[in-house]
Symmetry: C2
């Protein structure tokens, strides 16, 4: 999927919402536990109810891995369902991988080829040869952690390296990697004061913004600081949408929560004339 296809979907749906599929068997409606594959059943229902309101889905691999083989199978069924039924959706494997070159190639193969995700999140600590194997895939996107939404982000990411913060050094350095046009960056919504700094460094890149909703980020502030002329934002919400209800109405409740976000996004896009 190209940048311009993502932008077209955003303008068409008037939404830059990404829904995080962080499925926890203790939080999904109990009646689904009787299903043969409760995780996939949950995801399918959420996707069916919200796909017209979101442009991207982001399963976090940790939740699936914690259920072992069964969980991995649910992840594969979920991405297969998304690719089959909703090929216009941008898919993100939130895996935060990264290793030496030959190993990163394996991860890239796992997520891009084997499972067919459009993108994967990657940790930058190991540098160029840990990131470029992901960037080598045409029409795929590598979403590099720049500034994350958690408290621990201040341990290293905001520390001064030479005359800039580490997250700025990460972005600038990564933009020198081969195929850096295939990079996107994770920038947490809980730190909207940094969003403008990131946007200044990468005026054209998509930013994936977690932390709106359960983690407390403010959508309007994110847009004020992070939008570019072709929107350039994917704002993720996970728990606030998928766990809006634990009852039989969970899918409808998720759709309602997603619609609230979409309506706020529509209003913001309208105000800036992106219809």
């Amino acid at each position: 999927m190209t940048h311009s296809e993502i932008t077209q979907a955003i303008l068409k749906k008037q939404s830059f919402l990404c829904i995080g599929l962080d499925v926890d068997l203790e939080k999904i409606p109990p009646h689904l536990l009787a299903e043969e594959d409760p995780i996939f059943a949950f995801n399918k229902a959420i996707i069916d109810a919200t796909h017209h309101l979101a442009v991207a889905y982001k399963p976090n691999t940790a939740f699936y891995e914690s259920y072992g083989l069964k969980g991995w199978r649910s992840l594969e069924r979920t991405i297969e369902y998304l690719n089959d039924k909703h090929p216009e959706i941008f898919t993100i494997a939130d895996a935060k991988r990264g290793d030496i070159g030959n190993t990163s190639s394996r991860y890239a193969k796992a997520f891009f080829e084997h499972m067919g995700f459009d993108s994967v999140t990657v940790a930058p600590y190991m540098g160029r040869d840990s990131v470029e194997p992901f960037l080598a895939f045409e029409n795929k996107h590598t979403i590099l952690l720049a500034l994350t939404s958690n408290g621990g982000a201040f341990d290293f990411q905001t520390k001064q390296v030479e005359d800039q913060a580490l997250f700025q050094s990460v972005i600038k350095t990564a933009m020198t990697y081969d195929h850096s046009d295939r990079l996107m960056f994770v920038v947490g919504a809980t730190k909207d004061e940094y969003l403008a700094q990131v946007r200044a460094l990468v005026p054209h890149a998509f930013l994936l913004v977690p932390g709106v909703g359960a983690q407390g980020g403010d959508l309007a502030a994110v847009c004020r600081h992070g939008m570019n002329e072709s929107v350039g934002l994917l704002v993720n919400s996970s728990r606030a949408i998928i766990y809006a209800s634990q009852g039989h109405d969970f899918a409808q409740a998720a759709a309602n929560a997603a619609q609230q976000m979409q309506q706020q996004m529509h209003q913001i896009l309208t105000e800036r004339g992106s219809r």
Copy 2:
């Protein structure tokens, strides 16, 4: 497994060798491809032939993930086999995970509880709340990336942050985390000039040293700079051992390669009086 149990195994086997199980179906002996589970068949043969020469095995999850469900199943069978047949072996999930708190908890659960690994490698970029969920597990070990063995390590890890290199800041900061006594650190053998700096910061921690063998690191130099009074090293070799032969003699060839390493280690331990 406690530090002192690992040290006892090292002294008993006169080896601090860790064998990396980075299984690539294109590199294993072709005759194994007829097996129902070639990856597990390969690992089992390697483990059977080398377990008396090594104190640790380290499957790199990327290789397994790249084969999807089938690969994940081979990984589960491999760790199950190690835990059943060789409970004295220290097991490392080389997964390089790390995410926000509730998500890191999931990864910790996946590797420590579901699969029963003794340890997992973790990337430090997201800071305290991405690492502590791993450290919360008693009798488990979190092996934090400090200085990796690849070229990209110089992109960020050796950059000056305040008055020290980032990898030094990572180690010092991590040592303030809860249960930091459960930390070990990855320090690449290709940069033995840094090993002494790391050892000075963490005199008692185990260091996992990749990069000996195929990546060119020198064992004697690693030991000179990295050993502490209870050895404190796990030196990994992957390709040089497991791909020593692609013929029917592959397991014996792996054992021979492992034995060469073990003999060098035995000599080093003898010279410093650790028998």
